[in-house]
């Protein structure tokens, strides 16, 4: 992994974070936080997986937690809940292809008949989707679970 790979990864993640932020009607002055969060989250996950060889799910959990903690500072300055921009920042890390592969494999089992290969694909991508989405949501909730237990963030 080189610095250029990392920079390219962060830039490529910032684009969908902004794009989906626009789809979710995030106001223009907040979009920059979506971009920073998207780049930071996907970039740190890329670094953890590539440099440390960490499993994807754990790297996702740490990356989402990092974005969420950084998001708190921005949220308190903005006077808005951090989720209004951190959710868009998470979109580049959502395992979309794995989710579709799971459902497609199940549909195929119905069309072509059961096979071990299809079941293996369905279970593997299904588990991947489940754990990565779980890691994203738990990582986002980390500040509330660990520090802001009885008091609101904003």
């Amino acid at each position: 992994m080189s610095i250029i790979d990392l920079a390219q990864d962060m830039l490529l993640a910032a684009i969908p974070a902004v794009g989906f932020g626009m789809l979710f009607n995030v106001p223009p002055q907040v979009l920059v936080y979506c971009a920073i969060g998207g780049a930071l989250g996907h970039g740190s996950r890329f670094a953890l997986v590539q440099a440390l060889g960490m499993p994807l799910e754990w790297a996702t959990l740490l990356a989402a937690g990092l974005v969420s903690f950084v998001g708190i500072y921005a949220a308190q300055r903005l006077r808005a809940h951090p989720k209004v921009f951190t959710v868009a920042s998470m979109i580049p890390m959502v395992p979309g292809i794995a989710a579709y592969t799971t459902v497609l494999a199940i549909v195929q089992m119905n069309q072509r008949g059961f096979s071990d290969e299809l079941l293996k694909t369905a279970v593997q991508s299904g588990l991947r989707t489940f754990f990565v989405v779980g890691a994203l949501a738990v990582g986002l909730a980390a500040p509330g679970l660990l520090f802001y237990r009885r008091r609101p963030i904003v």
Partner: protein, 257 residues
């Protein structure tokens, strides 16, 4: 104490309106409950109880000697973070004491949902899916194909949404169109990575927000709303896959498994 009742009723109505506004525009349950409660407590209610269901919100406001309960129907209006921000700022101003009951109603009713121009969202989503393709190591031809397929699918999704089609129908048709366009790359051998383009062009239909909200709700103890959000996300993914399978059957290409 008789004079308390109308004010308590209005406080309850404000809590319900603020909570519903959050719920309709894609907030997680913990935020809905905390905003509804803090609005009521800021205005002097002694206690606010909130019950969140998938399709409705119930708020109960109490003063020393009275309780008023009201149910509001929740109709999903699509995700709009601008409304979430504005609603929460009304709550913060109420807590700071710069708004009273009447001006808070006026502020809530005056929120005009901010929307980006449609063409801009279409281009941005096209670029987003092209970036996803690039992240999965597509070549530039594949990225361009993804851009065209997903931008057209996004435009179609907006049109069908405006015509009030069910999101399930909408996602099925949009996935069919996106996959059909991307399938041409596979048929005519454009570039080295047409399969990646085919997968990436449907990523605009991944129900990311319901999925994340589903897990956060369940983690925070709102198992009911978490399950219903998760089920909706699964249905949307299923209907998207229906569109993908139909397109692959029509064009006789098989790129996924």
């Amino acid at each position: 104490m008789r004079s308390e009742a109308p004010r308590l009723r209005e406080i309850n109505r404000l809590c319900l309106q603020a909570g519903l506004q959050l719920m309709q525009h894609g907030a997680e349950s913990a935020l809905v409950e905390s905003v509804a409660r803090r609005v009521g407590l800021a205005l002097g209610a002694t206690r606010i109880d909130v019950a969140i269901m998938a399709n409705a919100l119930t708020v109960s406001a109490s003063s020393v000697d009275d309780t008023i309960t009201r149910v509001g129907r929740n109709e999903d209006q699509g995700i709009n973070m601008h409304i979430l921000i504005e609603t929460q700022r009304v709550m913060l101003d109420l807590e700071a004491g710069t708004l009273n009951l009447e001006s808070a109603f006026a502020r809530l009713n005056a929120i005009v949902p901010f929307r980006y121009p449609r063409w801009m969202v279409v281009v941005a989503i096209g670029l987003s899916c092209a970036s996803f393709a690039r992240l999965t190591h597509a070549d530039w031809t594949g990225c361009a194909l993804t851009f065209v397929a997903s931008a057209l699918a996004m435009a179609l999704r907006q049109v069908l949404g405006r015509l009030h089609f069910s999101p399930l129908v909408n996602f099925f048709v949009s996935a069919f169109v996106a996959t059909s366009i991307a399938a041409q790359g596979l048929i005519y051998h454009w570039g080295e990575t047409p399969k990646v383009a085919m997968a990436a062009s449907c990523l605009l239909l991944v129900p990311g927000v319901p999925l994340i909200n589903s897990v956060s709700d369940m983690v925070k103890g709102y198992i009911n709303t978490g399950i219903s959000r998760g089920t909706l996300a699964a249905l949307l993914a299923l209907s998207t896959c229906g569109g993908i399978v139909l397109a692959m059957t029509v064009w006789k290409v098989w790129a996924w498994i």
